[in-house]
Subunit: 412 residues, 2 copies
């Protein structure tokens, strides 16, 4: 099969969807279950219906559009999300959904009907910007949270999720957890700098990093910066800075793919001439290997204790988030890699540093992802950009990977 998607059509849809909730600076804001999200959903559903797909909405507002295969059975599914952060770009999530639609349209236009049914889905509230946690729709789809619990989530604006779902007309009848696909493949922008840095076009995503977020609070003693000798200080700010430096050193020592980030660090009172009496910081540790991540957490905890003890400050810790790493299906990772090579692209196997719906689907079925480069690694920003050539390359890889999976024999 040497079919290719219609890049102009895909790009035009990306732009049209990007105009819904456009923020005027090249970005868009379609927070989950807002009026803008409804408009975006309505537009995509219209395109799905125009293509003759069977559009179904489930109890958490996930939308699944199905196309029959030559034989009945679990579909090969692709998809992503169309909600955005408040300062979102037009590629994050949207690309995976619209490329999936483009794949189905390309096959339909060419009269190709694979053995298996195919589906393109968009999942509710992937960003988690209005209703935490993120990846909510796919989590509920995969059975990770009861739908009733999800209904009672309260958004940053005080709205109840269940009410908003009904209000925008996307409280569907399909039950959750949802149908189990034969396989799931998601095309997404990398949202990081690695592919661009190595001048590669396609990422065969091996899994999603495990995440450990903790908040650390040090309690020291407010002191005058001039009158207090070093030996008599209990400087909560120095302790916090030391943790940030130690986190980097630990990640360097463990080596890639271990990363460590201190993105938040507050000192109190925060004055030039006062030794900090209190400080708060966050430590974000990630690794694709669960045991290395656990090791990093243990060693970081030891470092924090050592620093607190040496500086004579109290320490409190709070786990903010903890997700184990997800490994994608070896065969699908290989298939992405092989397909991209076949298309003449430079390919890299790499883990995802960000969370994606695919990690929830991976609980249900063999899953994988295709990454295309993000210029400057920039995402969640109006400046988010992926070149038209890379959009096209990614969609064509998706087309052929899905087609291969959809031709696989159905054993009942």
């Amino acid at each position: 099969m040497d079919l290719r998607i219609d890049a102009a059509r895909l790009l035009s849809r990306l732009e049209e969807l990007g105009r819904v909730g456009a923020t005027g600076d090249g970005g868009c804001a379609r927070l989950a279950l807002t009026d803008e999200d409804r408009q975006g959903r309505d537009l995509v559903v219209t395109w799905m219906r125009d293509l003759g797909l069977d559009v179904q909405v489930d109890a958490i507002g996930n939308v699944v559009a199905l196309r029959d295969g030559r034989e009945p059975g679990p579909p090969v599914m692709c998809g992503s999300h169309i909600d955005t952060v408040a300062t979102g770009g037009i590629y994050d999530g949207n690309l995976g959904v619209l490329a999936g639609l483009e794949v189905l349209e390309t096959l339909a236009s060419a009269g190709v009907v694979p053995r298996r049914p195919m589906a393109v889905a968009f999942f509710t509230d992937e960003e988690g910007s209005r209703f935490a946690p993120d990846m909510l729709g796919s989590l509920v789809y995969a059975g990770g949270m009861p739908v009733e619990e999800a209904y009672d989530l309260v958004g940053i604006d005080g709205a109840r999720l269940g009410d908003e779902l009904a209000r925008i007309g996307y409280l569907g009848s399909l039950p959750c957890p949802g149908l189990v696909p034969h396989a799931y493949v998601e095309l997404h922008i990398e949202q990081g700098p690695v592919l661009e840095h190595h001048d590669e076009v396609i990422g065969a995503v091996t899994g999603v990093q495990g995440i450990s977020w903790q908040e650390v609070r040090f309690g020291g003693q407010f002191n005058h910066a001039g009158t207090t000798p070093l030996a008599l200080r209990h400087d909560a700010g120095f302790a916090a800075a030391s943790v940030a430096v130690a986190a980097r050193a630990l990640a360097r020592e463990l080596g890639p793919p271990q990363v460590a980030t201190v993105g938040k660090l507050d000192l109190r009172p925060g004055l030039v001439n006062v030794v900090s009496g209190r400080s708060t910081l966050t430590v974000d540790l990630r690794n694709t290997e669960g045991d290395v991540l656990a090791d990093a957490e243990r060693r970081m905890a030891e470092e924090i204790d050592r620093i607190a003890s040496e500086e004579g400050v109290t320490v409190e810790r709070r786990q903010l988030a903890r997700f184990d790493p997800v490994q994608f299906d070896d065969r699908i990772v290989g298939l992405v890699e092989e397909t991209a090579h076949g298309h003449g692209h430079a390919v890299r196997r790499l883990p995802s540093g960000a969370g994606h719906d695919a990690q929830m689907l991976a609980r249900l079925c063999p899953s994988g992802m295709v990454f295309v480069p993000s210029v400057g690694g920039i995402s969640h920003n109006p400046a988010e950009f992926t070149s038209p050539g890379h959009v096209e390359a990614g969609a064509n890889v998706l087309l052929h990977v899905l087609h291969r999976l959809a031709e696989e024999e159905i054993v009942s």
Copy 2:
């Protein structure tokens, strides 16, 4: 001479002055040239007049109360300030003024008239909390700023200093710079923990630390904490934390009295999962030795450059303040030490980490300071406290030091 001051009278006046602008939590707020400051000034001036002193007000509102000696000539002066910060205690500044008054009253009550005239002064706006810079009144007194320039200073509340001075009735006729004393000695609470830590009663202050304040801004690249490998980061937050750690290491290496403090450190955007694109921090370096302080500044600048270069971030620097160290008069430091020893007190020679009016007077005449312990090193806080016994000890040392200086021969 074995005279002793009346501790009960001194403590009672400290408490009475502390009730003016009392904040209800043991502290008081008498920001410079406010109505509360006026009330405090009026009270102290009443006490000065009751004692028969010749009270004079100068063009910047400094109040100098004089008592004749056996011979005419430049007076031996003591004093401090009675303005406070918004969260002030009742000892900072006030102790030096009221102890000076107590010294003059003790001498008068005993019929002791030293050779030289004696003076007790309080200087306008030492704290600088309403009108920057701090030590303003003594700065103008010493000729460090023209009085017309001072009049045009605008306070945090938008008020013009000259107007406020006139409004509260303390725009005096005595010219600035003021009369040059024979010597100046200021009793003050330590505002630091050193004397208490070493169980000492009297500090013979050797000088005031030089101060170097700078603001450092790093410009890096906002990045996703999950998707950006360490090697591709330009983390402005890591650079800032590294500077805080390097500052401490530098101060340790230079040894006491070098101190270094990073009291302010802001990361942007300040989110758990975002590598900081911008950071701002302050570095406060202090030393009593001008050449060591300059060396610390030079080495700190090199460290900052090295950190910025290694992390690939831009760096901007801004000097916020720079004062050379002040050395007090050797003979007065020795006299304080000898007198305190003579009174049976444990004494320490130590530099002041905070600024004081005495450092301005040191431009005019041999000057020195007497410190008494601050419990817990706490100051600028309603919890500021110095024990009655230490207040008494400090005032008696002041009495005898001033008396010795006032008996010195007058050579014209």
